[in-house]
């Protein structure tokens, strides 16, 4: 791998997110050196369940993001339901109640674009399964800032629209099936 050392990972997923994340997050060790920021589209009543479920299955810490919380390595932060999750330049999390983007709040684009501004080339953007086009513009912003882009291979995805849209916006992204993404994340953490 070339380029600057990775400092953070952002993940966006929609339909089929739970299964996809289940093959990625539980495989990471408790001392994983990077923070992971995650936006999943889910109806509000299900989102907090997501945090609870992964908390019991993961070695890394799993939390719902809080406003102005300092971002720490080895923690997976989920965007809370009905709020956008953003990254400030001082590496803290911000929430916003601004209007939905592409009908989504939280929005993957909003997270990815602000994280790309903050981490520049030190960011890894990962778009997984989903049935809409959120994340495509965000992933493009990650690449434009010098970061790395990875898209779940559409044929391994539960819903193909989101990875396909991401690949259209970002043809240079690496295309990997889930098991190879899991491997990649562990390798990035071992660097």
């Amino acid at each position: 791998m070339n380029g600057p050392a990775p400092e953070a990972i952002v993940i966006g997923a929609s339909a089929g997110a739970f299964e996809a994340l289940s093959s990625l997050l539980p495989g990471l060790a408790a001392d994983y050196p990077l923070p992971i920021l995650i936006v999943v589209h889910l109806p509000p009543y299900k989102s907090s369940l997501l945090t609870q479920l992964f908390r019991t299955r993961c070695a890394i810490q799993v939390r719902e993001a809080e406003d102005k919380e300092p971002i720490k390595p080895g923690v997976a932060y989920f965007a809370p339901p009905d709020y956008h999750l953003l990254v400030e330049d001082d590496r803290r999390l911000s929430l916003s109640g601004d209007e939905p983007v592409l009908f989504s709040r939280p929005s993957i684009d909003v997270l990815f674009e602000s994280a790309a501004d903050a981490y520049r080339g030190g960011l890894i953007g990962l778009v997984l399964t989903g049935a809409n086009s959120d994340g495509a513009q965000g992933l493009k912003a990650v690449v434009e800032a010098g970061g790395a882009a990875i898209v779940q291979s559409p044929d391994s995805a539960y819903a193909t629209a989101m990875p396909e849209a991401a690949l259209r916006a970002c043809p240079e992204a690496r295309i990997l099936p889930l098991d190879e993404i899991a491997l990649y994340l562990r390798e990035v953490g071992a660097r």
Partner: protein, 275 residues
């Protein structure tokens, strides 16, 4: 690699906004502000943020437009019904012990939260002894709040929220529907003072018994959050209450020691130290 030109432009525009009009957005959390400014630039049809700044400096008509983009807030009546239910069931019994009450809705935007409080206080028999202060920096939003007219298609949600908050009356008692709009009764505004007030530059006021400021602090950076929460602390009577948004926290501010958690999940705090 993209350069930082736009970020410089944004900082210059915020400086211009402050020096020319004394609107101070310099302490707003940058990530959201950046999005809002980019949106304003696109919608208003400027090629660059600098071009927008030029217009802002020379044409006062630009000011309300831009402030609108920077402070836009979408709320609901009785948003997060459990918050209002907790106010009703746990805070109101404390408030009943006072002969007169002051309530401050800080950052009231277009008034949804204000009307929720007035209705709740009327239902609980406290309205007559209460003065409500509704403040915002956005003059257009404040005018909307004073008018109390909302799209009829939002009323269904407001009604359901009100019911879940433990409402003792029917929301339809408080508005008249005409065409596609619901107009809330003038009587709800009898005990309300509307005022242009900035949490960034203005001072504290009153000996409040309850301050509700929801989903405003998330737009501030930490220094400004400290200022605003300090302002609330200084504006509250002893043992008075502060309610903030469901995902906001005093944990990362320097005033966390001045408050105790009164209802943790609902983010209602009670002033505990200081006078």
């Amino acid at each position: 690699m993209a350069d930082r030109t736009e970020e410089i432009e944004i900082r210059l525009l915020l400086e211009a906004l402050f020096q020319r009009y004394h609107f101070d957005f310099r302490g707003y959390a940058m990530a959201s502000l950046k999005r809002r400014l980019k949106r304003a630039r696109q919608h208003l049809g400027f090629a660059t943020i600098s071009a927008m700044q030029d217009q802002l400096l020379h044409d006062t008509a630009m000011l309300p437009k831009l402030v609108g983009y920077l402070t836009v807030q979408v709320s609901e009546m009785f948003r997060d019904p459990v918050y209002f239910r907790t106010i009703r069931e746990r805070v109101v019994p404390h408030l009943r012990t006072y002969p007169s009450l002051k309530v401050w809705i800080a950052g009231c935007s277009s008034g949804e939260e204000l009307y929720s409080f007035v209705i709740l206080f009327r239902e609980e028999g406290l309205e007559d002894r209460t003065l409500f202060y509704a403040t915002d920096v956005n003059q257009d939003a404040l005018t909307k709040a004073e008018t109390g007219i909302y799209d009829l298609d939002r009323i269904k949600l407001f009604t359901e929220n009100h019911r879940q908050s433990g409402g003792r009356s029917s929301l339809s008692d408080y508005y008249t529907a005409a065409y596609s709009r619901a107009s809330f009764s003038k009587s709800l505004r009898q005990r309300v003072v509307f005022s242009d007030h900035s949490l960034v530059t203005d001072a504290s006021f009153g000996e409040m018994h309850l301050i509700s400021c929801r989903n405003v602090l998330i737009y501030f950076d930490r220094a400004l959050q400290n200022r605003a929460v300090g302002l609330f602390k200084d504006s509250l009577a002893r043992r008075a209450f502060l309610g903030i948004g469901a995902k906001e926290s005093l944990r990362f501010t320097e005033h966390t020691g001045a408050f105790r958690e009164f209802a943790r999940d609902e983010r209602i705090y009670q002033k505990w130290s200081g006078s």
